[in-house]
Each structure stands twice: as structure tokens, then as C-alpha cells.
């Protein structure tokens, strides 16, 4: 069975592997214990003790609070509320919808037409890490990226009862 030590997974996550080290990992069957090892690695890195249930995306996790609530939480400790709610509604938003703001990140004439498409950047109110960017037509509703079904995921994919 394919398996990697935690150091390799850390380097993988940090992007420190050379292409020669990375390719065998890409080519081989998925390591079956990846989820648990990665969870352990995430838990060690964060500065709080709530149990991580699911890494959601860079910086964000679904965690179990001592009182039984399950919330989205940033690695800085900021909490976005119930994991079934869209965390973006609690984030700070910066919308690039003018030529001026778009040209801060794109060369002239290489960016979108802000009348057709805008960039929405979502920042964590706690640490101001950039968490997510949406590219949408102006006025498009906020996208709810991912609403995990934790019970089913644990039971049927990880083969473990969810408590």
C-alpha cells in the first residue's frame, strides 16, 4: 500500500518537493491513509485546540467546538459560524470592478471588462489572508462553494462512524 511519512506530506503541501520527488507521488495509487495523516499535520500547525473535522481549503477548516457546534474556522482562530452556512458572508470583501483596480494586478488591456466580469476577493477578518476569489458577472449572487455532508463522508468514504 502506498504511504508517505508526515515530512513528505508537509513538503508536498508546502510545495517544497522537486519535480523528481513529486512525480512518483502523482503517478502512484493514492495513499489510503492520506486524509488522517494530513488531518494530524493540520492539527499540529494551528494555534488552537478545537478538533479539526475536515480541511476545507487553504487556511479554512471545519472544526468541532467543545459545546458540540461545528463551525468553519480560519487557522488564525477567527470563526465564521456554522459549517452549513456560506462562510463568505462573514468575510471581508474587496471587489475589483474598475479598470484602475484591475490594473493593480493585470497589465493594461490584459484584464477583463468590468462591465462583464468582476473579481471578488474574500479576506479573513481575523488575519486578512486572502481566502478565495470569485470571477463572476457583476451582481451575481455569492457562490456557496462547498457544503460538506460530513456524516456520509465519514461513514461511506472514510469507513468510520462520525461522532
Amino acid at each position: 500500500m502506498t504511504t508517505y511519512d508526515k515530512k513528505t506530506l508537509e513538503n508536498l503541501w508546502e510545495g517544497n518537493l522537486s519535480s523528481g520527488e513529486l512525480r512518483p507521488i502523482q503517478s502512484q495509487f493514492k495513499d489510503q491513509d492520506r486524509f488522517w495523516k494530513f488531518l494530524e499535520y493540520c492539527q499540529e500547525r494551528v494555534g488552537w485546540s478545537d478538533r479539526i473535522l475536515l480541511p476545507l481549503q487553504p487556511h479554512l477548516f471545519v472544526v468541532q467546538k467543545p459545546d458540540g457546534r461545528r463551525v468553519n474556522k480560519c487557522d488564525c482562530g477567527f470563526e465564521f459560524g456554522d459549517y452549513r452556512q456560506n462562510w463568505k458572508l462573514e468575510a471581508q470583501v474587496f471587489v475589483r470592478d474598475t479598470d484602475e483596480t484591475l490594473q493593480e494586478i493585470y497589465p493594461p488591456m490584459m484584464h477583463c471588462d468590468p462591465e462583464w466580469m468582476v473579481l471578488r476577493e474574500f479576506y479573513c477578518p481575523g488575519c486578512y489572508s486572502l481566502l478565495e476569489v470569485e470571477t463572476v458577472p457583476p451582481c451575481y449572487p455569492i457562490i456557496h462553494d462547498f457544503k460538506p455532508d460530513l456524516e456520509t463522508f465519514y461513514r461511506e468514504w472514510l469507513g468510520k462512524e462520525f461522532k
Binding site: M1, T2, R23, P24, Q26, S27, F29, K30
Partner: protein, 718 residues
């Protein structure tokens, strides 16, 4: 015992070890080893030769004067390329084409990958460029595909670019412009300009023109090959001169030759040294051709199983197929190379259960030199084919590499049980046997398709099996295929080095011709074509003559062969056709040539696929020139009768075969005498390989120390 008189020296300088193979006048040989000394290869090389010669109680000083041929093959040039430690090269290309090394035509991001990874796009990645972007410059000027000048070379521009490159401190300059194989005038002009600028600065660095070195179509392989010539081959020249100097110091008067990828050996002063970039697996094919000729066959399938791969090459009518645009170390090249098909199925191939399908998968990656779980020092945790062979009793764990390495059978069994047998809910031995059967069936598929896809049947060929793993599995992958004969040399170990010593002293050059033969061409046009083709061939012959004149052989005794690459007009793939006549004179000669192309085409593809309606295109002219050199003789022993001598029996061992434990006789391969016949189930062991003879088969050792494996009639078809 007679005093040995060394005649031929063949050297294989690998990355870590240098192997020397010395043959005497009776075809007997010794192998020596020493560590490779990359900073001055001649040191390791002489040490290795001394190691070999001391087995004959002689020294280099004593033996070298008798040697008549020295053949060198090595991987240092390749290593220099792989580790990106070549010269600082500057490159001039056509304006607009400066990003060759960044784009790599896409294909270089996955060259050499397994089929699964080719489809798995995330694994593709670009190589570190051998020339960084700042040392690649474009100049204005354009020659079109017909060789006409469309835009004159902008000389001021060229001057600027060369100047900038010289400022970058380059050690060599390569020039590769579009269509320069048609019309080299722009490249030559840049050469002159570079010469003038270097004179002004009082410096002198070599300039490599693609039109002078590799004048063939396909700009990217042409650029790669020209750059590698400057980058990796140029530094090797000095090394080879050092080697020759050392040979001279040891009183060796012989000429040193280098193995080239087209299957001949070339002098060390050859202009195009990059052709010697790869030589390793070629030796085996040459050796196989030589052997087959000696026993009167011109059609051989050469199969070699090593730790990582199964290599297969075909020799048909005494010639091997040559790939005009091979790839090597993730570079597309335009140096002709013997076609060796390699699949990732060796004795070290990893065995896993695909968690998706629940089926066993073999390879494509492998433990290679680390053997398998059965070798604790190798720290391998995934079982391999060798683990299965050890588990079933086919390989003796105490006699691997002649006992040099001790294997642990219990470790192998435990790994197969845990990782393969238990998940499949079957017995561990059944699992191991099933895997080997699957492995051999796969190989049988490769062998059959390789032969059939060339338009032949196995019954047209003799199959030769060598390499450490070949004889272990040869019965499994040939059974039912009906080859004329199945041969296993009893000295399979040194076979590649032996093959290198069998290489002809031969140069091969090619030129792009691109001449059309429209349908209904009249005789005048055909004669004109013949004249043009002859012109190309004469040019190539002149190149060959120039190379031989640098040697002691001169140009009198050269034997030429002419080939043309031909395709149906409008199709994409051409075939290499041996010209029926040495010189094309009349319309009839051309017709014969085209006829011979059509026959080959019909055999390789299908008769019904012949498409002469739009005529033909003669894309390339190829000339090879060889001179006779001394080659090792085959051993020739007097037959001693069919019964093996008592001393050859090493004992008996339990072997798991077709679902039951059976007793196999164990024989010492080296102790067998010619004429001996061994009935299966038997296992013959030598330090380098193990030869398995299944029940219902026999192996007979002939006077050349070649085993002939035969299946009994009723065993043949299943």
C-alpha cells in the same frame, strides 16, 4: 592451460563502475571491474583492464601490444547531459523561434513516460533547458522549404546577436536556422560573421552549424542534436584522447573506436560524436546478430530482461530497424538509432493491487537494482517479480549473483501474502505463480505483436534471450509462439559487452532529399531523379571516406550500403528501404527501388493499403560504409554427449509448478558440456542468471555454448 593472448578489448564505462571485457584468439574472455573516475576516465579504465588481465596472470603492458581492437562505450556523455554539466553554449535560431527550449514542442514534457502517465497530464513537466533563454538569440532572414531565400539574412542583426552572445561568455556557438538542410548559406554566413567577431576579440570558440552536422529535416531534433554535440559531446573528445594516450603508454597500438547508436563503431576523431551518446542496450542487439549469423540465421528476435525493463529488437534479413528520430533523456534527436522497444516490465517491476479495480498491476516502476523485498538491504517494501520467483523456489535465495547477495525468502512471502494474496483471498503461492504467469503472458504479447506488426510470423525468426532475467522467463514468454529456435547463451552475463566487441567499424550518414516521383513519371524524369539521388549518395560517401581517412584503414576497403527512406506521396510515415542496386542508373533501377518499397509497405501494413495513386516521395538518402575488423570468435567445443557430467548436478529443490510442489533438478550452467541435454523440470544456475526449463521441454547445449530450448510436441500448443 594455454597462455591467453588478448585480442579484443571492450570497455563499458558506466556511471559508477567501468567494466572491461577482454577476448582472446579462441573466443575465451575475462571481465574486469573498477570504479569509474569521471575526472580522468583513463585511470579507472586501465585499472579495470588490469583487473581483467590478472585473471589470465598477465598485465596491461604485456597484453596490450597483442590487442588489435579496442571498443569504448560509456555513459559519461549522457550523464553530463542528465546532470546539466555541459559547456556554456550560445544558440542562434531564426527570429521568432527563440523559445524552442521552453516550449519543447510539448512532446518533451512527457517523453519516456508510461502510457498511464501520458494520459495523466498533471505529471507532465518541462525539462531544465540546457541553454537558458538569455543565451538563445533570433536573427532575421528566412529560407523556405524549397531552399529559396525568402528574406535575406540581416547581417547587422546577426552581428549584434553574435556579439551579445560572446559578451555572455559562451564556450561554444550553435546555429540552427529553419530549412538550413536545404540551403545552408545563411548559417554559413553567420559562421563567417562569428569568425570575424572572434578575430577582433582575439578569441576562438567552436561554432556548430546544424547544416554541417545533422543536415536533416525537423528543426527541433536538429537543434537538440547540434546543441548536444556542443554541450555534452565536445568535452568528451578530450577524455577519449586521454584514453587513447593511456593505451599508447601501455604499448597498445590498436585503434580505439566508440560504439554509436546506429549499431556500428566509429573512430574517436569522428566529427559527429553525439552519435555515440547512447550505446548500452545496443551491444546486446549486435551480439545477437553476430551469434545468429554464426549459426546461419539472419532473422532474430532479441529479448533482454533486466531489473527495470523488457527490451526487444528485431534483426530481419541481417539488418536491424533504425529509428531516424529517437528520443533519449527526454530529448528528441535526429541521430539514427537501432530500434529497441522497451517496456517497463522487468524482474524488479513492482506488484500492486489497484485499489480502484481490485486487480493486480505489474509496474511500470520498479525496484531496479534494489531487487525486491527479499533483499533487506534494498529497503524495498513493495513486492516485485523477483520476490515471486524466490517464493516459488525458482530462484535460490542463497545463490543470487552467485551467492554475492543473500535473499530472504520469508520476507518475500510475507510481503506477497500481506499486499497481494490476502486482499485477493487466495493462497500465497497461487498468487505468486499467477503473477508470474500474468507477467510472462504480457511479455508474450509484446513479442508476438512486435513480430506480427512488422509483417512477419514468429516461425520466420529465431529468438534469443539474454540479460539477468531473460532465461528465467524465456520458456514462459515463448511457449506456443512457434519460433524456429530459442537460444540462450550460456554466457548471458557478459553479453552486452560481448556485443560491443562484435560491432562493425561503420559510419552511417543521411541527407534529406524530399524528391517526388509523380504517378506516370516518364523515364527521363526517373533518370534525372537517379542522378540527383546519386549526387546525395556521393556526398554522403565523401563524408564516410573523410572519416575513414583519419584512421589506419584508409578508403580502399570500404563496403557501402545504400538505403532510401520512401513514403507514398501525401502520407506521413516513411520506411527505410535497402537499395536493390548500389548505384541508381536507369529508370528500371528506380522502379526496382519503388517496387521494393511497395513490397515492404504491403508487408508492414496491408497489401490493400498500398496507395501509389499520388506517386511517391523519396525523403532521405542513407549511406553506410564499413570496413572489416577483427571480431570475437564464438566458443567452439567438441561435443561430449547428451548426459551432463556428474559435477554439473548441484542437487534438487522443491519448486511450485502449476499448483503443486515438484522436485526440480538444479544444475551448474558453467559445468555443463557441449552436447548435453537437460530435461525439464530443471533449473540451471550461473552467477549471472538462472535458466528455467519447464516440464515438457528440453535444453540442449551446442558446441558454441548456446542452449536450444525445445518444447515437446504435445506441450507446444498450450
Amino acid at each position: 592451460m594455454l597462455k591467453h593472448r588478448a585480442r579484443i578489448l571492450a570497455v563499458d564505462a558506466g556511471g559508477t563502475m567501468t567494466d572491461t571485457f577482454i577476448v582472446d584468439e579462441l573466443g575465451r574472455f575475462v571481465v574486469g571491474k573498477a570504479q569509474t573516475t569521471p575526472e580522468n576516465e583513463s585511470i579507472g579504465l586501465i585499472k579495470s583492464a588490469e583487473d581483467a588481465l590478472c585473471q589470465w596472470d598477465t598485465t596491461t603492458k604485456e597484453a596490450f601490444p597483442h590487442i588489435v581492437a579496442g571498443i569504448y562505450s560509456g555513459t559519461t556523455m549522457l550523464n553530463r547531459l542528465l546532470s546539466r554539466q555541459g559547456l556554456r553554449v550560445g544558440v542562434i535560431v531564426s527570429k521568432g523561434q527563440e523559445d524552442y527550449f521552453l516550449l519543447e514542442r510539448g512532446v518533451q514534457t512527457y517523453l519516456g513516460f508510461s502510457y498511464a502517465d501520458r494520459l495523466h497530464v498533471v505529471t507532465h513537466h518541462h525539462n531544465d533547458p540546457i541553454v537558458p533563454g538569455r543565451r538563445v538569440r533570433g536573427v532575421f532572414g528566412r529560407i523556405d522549404v524549397f531552399g529559396e531565400e525568402v528574406l535575406p539574412l540581416q547581417e547587422g542583426d546577426a552581428r549584434d546577436m553574435v556579439r551579445q552572445l560572446l559578451d555572455e561568455g559562451i564556450e561554444a556557438l550553435c546555429v540552427c536556422l529553419l530549412h538550413s538542410y536545404r540551403n545552408p548559406s545563411h548559417e554559413q554566413r553567420i559562421d563567417q560573421i562569428a569568425g570575424e567577431l572572434m578575430d577582433e576579440r582575439g578569441m576562438n570558440i567552436p561554432v556548430f552549424l546544424s547544416s554541417e552536422y545533422y543536415p536533416v529535416r525537423n528543426d527541433f531534433p536538429r537543434l537538440n542534436t547540434t546543441v548536444i554535440e556542443a554541450y555534452a559531446a565536445q568535452p568528451s573528445r578530450a577524455q577519449l584522447q586521454l584514453v587513447t594516450k593511456r593505451f599508447r603508454e601501455c604499448n597498445g597500438k590498436f585503434e580505439t573506436r566508440v560504439m554509436a547508436s546506429h549499431g556500428g563503431t566509429v573512430g574517436i576523431d569522428t566529427k559527429e560524436l553525439a552519435r555515440t551518446l547512447i550505446s548500452g542496450p545496443i551491444g546486446g542487439v549486435l551480439g545477437a546478430r553476430y551469434l545468429a549469423r554464426a549459426i546461419g540465421s539472419d532473422d532474430v528476435v532479441c529479448t533482454d530482461i533486466g531489473g527495470t525493463s523488457f527490451d526487444l529488437a528485431l534483426v530481419t534479413g541481417g539488418d536491424y530497424a533504425v529509428k531516424p528520430y529517437p528520443d533519449l533523456a527526454r530529448f528528441l534527436l535526429c541521430i539514427p538509432m537501432i530500434q529497441i522497444d522497451s517496456v517497463g516490465a522487468g524482474t524488479g517491476s513492482f506488484l500492486r493491487i489497484n485499489p480502484g479495480s481490485g486487480r493486480i498491476e505489474i509496474g511500470p516502476d520498479s525496484a531496479g537494482a534494489r531487487i525486491g523485498v527479499c533483499w533487506p538491504e534494498g529497503e524495498v517494501t513493495t513486492p516485485t517479480i523477483t520476490d515471486c520467483s524466490v517464493a516459488l523456489g525458482i530462484l535460490d535465495p542463497d545463490y543470487f549473483l552467485g551467492g554475492e547477495i543473500k535473499l530472504d525468502r520469508d520476507r518475500a512471502l510475507a510481503a506477497i501474502k500481506d499486499q497481494l494474496a490476502d486482499p485477493l483471498h487466495i493462497d500465497v503461492y497461487k498468487a505468486a505463480e499467477g503473477i508470474i504467469e500474468l507477467f510472462e503472458e504480457n511479455l508474450k504479447g509484446y513479442v508476438a505483436s512486435a513480430v506480427l506488426s512488422k509483417g512477419y510470423a514468429p516461425s520466420n525468426y529465431v529468438l534469443l534471450s539474454y540479460g539477468g532475467g531473460g532465461p528465467v522467463h524465456v520458456a514462459g514468454y515463448t511457449k506456443g509462439l512457434d519460433f524456429q529456435d530459442i537460444l540462450v547463451p550460456a554466457w548471458a552475463a557478459g553479453f552486452s559487452a560481448y556485443g560491443c566487441a562484435c560491432g562493425d567499424f561503420e559510419y552511417r550518414y543521411e541527407a534529406t532529399t524530399d524528391l517526388p516521383v509523380p504517378p506516370g513519371s516518364d523515364d527521363d524524369w526517373k533518370v534525372a531523379l537517379c542522378t540527383m539521388l546519386n549526387m546525395h549518395c556521393e556526398g554522403l560517401k565523401a563524408k564516410i571516406v573523410a572519416e575513414f581517412e583519419k584512421t589506419t584503414h584508409g578508403s580502399e576497403s570500404i563496403e557501402y550500403k545504400t538505403f532510401f527512406r520512401i513514403q507514398y506521396m501525401g502520407q506521413l510515415n516513411d520506411l527505410e528501404i535497402r537499395s536493390p542496386s548500389d548505384r541508381l542508373e536507369t529508370a528500371r533501377d528506380l522502379d526496382d527501388l519503388l517496387q521494393s518499397f511497395e513490397e515492404t509497405y504491403g508487408r508492414v501494413y496491408a497489401r490493400a493499403a498500398k496507395s501509389p495513386e499520388l506517386g511517391f516521395a523519396i525523403t532521405q538518402a542513407i549511406v553506410t560504409g564499413r570496413v572489416d575488423v577483427e571480431k570475437p570468435r564464438l566458443p567452439d567445443e567438441t561435443p561430449a554427449g547428451p548426459t551432463p557430467p556428474e559435477a554439473a548436478f548441484k542437487g534438487e529443490r522443491k519448486v511450485y509448478w502449476k499448483g503443486e510442489w515438484r522436485i526440480a533438478r538444479i544444475l551448474d550452467m558453467e559445468a555443463l558440456e557441449s552436447g548435453n541435454i537437460v530435461e525439464g523440470l530443471a533449473i540451471m544456475e550461473s552467477p549471472a542468471t538462472t535458466f528455467v526449463i519447464p516440464p515438457g521441454a528440453t535444453a540442449e547445449l551446442d558446441s558454441h555454448r548456446l542452449f536450444h530450448l525445445r518444447f515437446h510436441q504435445n506441450e507446444r500448443d498450450h
